[in-house]
Subunit: 234 residues, 2 copies
DNA sequence: CGGGAGATTGACTGATCTCAACCCGGGTGG
DNA sequence: CCACCCGGGTTGAGATCAGTCAATCTCCCG
């Protein structure tokens, strides 16, 4: 019964419509061992840290995770977020390297682990799965390249506007136009690549200009068009 | 005879020890059509541009290519270089998107083209090839993440030192300790993510400090250790 | 009520960008 | 043959964006 239950959760987990695992056959599916999770993590808890040897994929079933690198002086740079349906740790797993990022829950989250040898077996024997993974890697790569260009060339003001728009696209707005992700000012700064105080100043500038409204950590988007323009997005 | 010759060049091309294509079987190898190249490009010539629909891999047989994105104000940001044995265009090909970078020869180069459907076929049927490609994508992804963190957190001075060290690692030094790649000051600036004048000033500062020597575009590394320290590299 | 984390504001500093002038070497056309 | 032109390189001066430091505020929690 216990076994069945675990299996059921796993099934829910991997058959989400946007999951990489959706193309697995039943025979492949049963190769995934059930004993790893789903584990739950509270806000603030670390899933794995830079330098850890991880060997497997972490599949996010619920919640939001921030994925960041720690710079020379200890400052965090947020690279991306992972949410329901996303996988983490595939870079290190596939290239047999130590983790180069830390992953930390910013909302209570559920995460399943799939061992590296199972995943590698799928890559070698299931062309569709391999292609799917390649496309995920390519998507991330494209986004990383955009990010590099932006950080190198745009002002902090432009980047903050851009980040707000990206957050809107990735996490959507609720029915009152609030961003459905809540970050501390410091996290926002670590995403934009600037100082916390700069983010605060620019946010209140945007508020003055009626582009956004601030209610604690919740941000309401009032004028998306202007933000797009400020961010030099299409 | 002509056919044999083309095939021979292709064979030389793809069986380089560090090529992604080295794991192809003879049967797979003959599936690559011979009519596309190798083409040669002179310094300054564009292979493909941002927004082009490309559908295939560009394999660099000889030369050095700069791969860059054009920012909002027309300024180039160099993302990476491709040299002998590297492939370009796999991101766009595999994710069926338009090219998001421009590729331009900075040395006279020879490049072979492999159509997208052939590559996709290999991905689906040859697990080793798929894994190889995934590892290439993952390697680039790791480097891109490092780059993001560096640009966001390091000073221009630190980044320039780092870039010099990276160029040394990627292109090596000749027997007089000159970097085996020659870039204009502007290209160096577009790599570091700064203004041309800033690069010039910092280069002459490094020269003053006896870390490097400048002979036109050729840069001689005199004190690698100090550069590593300045760049906050391990 | 005290403590602490996060948020805010102000003042100051400085790294870096921009603008402008000038130099240098190579190629070209009169 | 020489003046000119042009692209790239260099230098200087001034402007400014954004980072740092420090003080204060506001919650929230035990």
């Amino acid at each position: 019964m216990e076994q069945y239950y675990a299996s059921q959760i796993y099934s829910d987990c991997f058959k989400d419509t946007n999951s990489v695992f959706r193309h697995l056959s039943e025979e492949e599916f049963v190769m995934i061992p059930m004993e790893h999770g789903p584990n739950s993590y509270k806000r603030g808890e670390i899933i794995y840290s830079e330098g850890n040897r991880i060997n497997g994929f972490y599949y996010v079933q619920k919640g939001i995770i921030k994925i960041y690198k720690t710079g020379f002086d200890g400052k965090e740079q947020i690279i991306r977020f992972a949410k329901k349906g996303d996988i983490m740790g595939f870079r290190s797993t596939l290239s047999n390297e130590l983790a180069c990022t830390t992953t930390r829950a910013i909302e209570d989250s559920n995460i399943c682990f799939i061992p590296g040898d199972v995943v590698k077996h799928f890559v070698k024997t299931n062309g569709k799965f391999a292609m799917e993974l390649l496309q995920i890697a390519c998507k991330e790569l494209g986004e990383a390249n955009d990010y590099i260009t932006d950080i190198a060339q745009k002002t902090v003001r432009e980047r903050l506007a851009e980040v707000l728009i990206h957050l809107k696209l990735e996490f959507n707005l609720d029915n009152e136009n609030f961003l459905q992700i809540s970050l501390t000012r410091e996290e926002l700064a670590n995403l934009v690549g600037t100082a916390t105080e700069s983010v605060i100043r620019l946010l209140s500038e945007f508020k003055q200009d009626k582009l956004i409204e601030l209610h604690g950590r919740k941000i309401k988007i009032l004028n998306e068009k202007s933000l797009i323009k400020i961010g030099n997005l299409q």
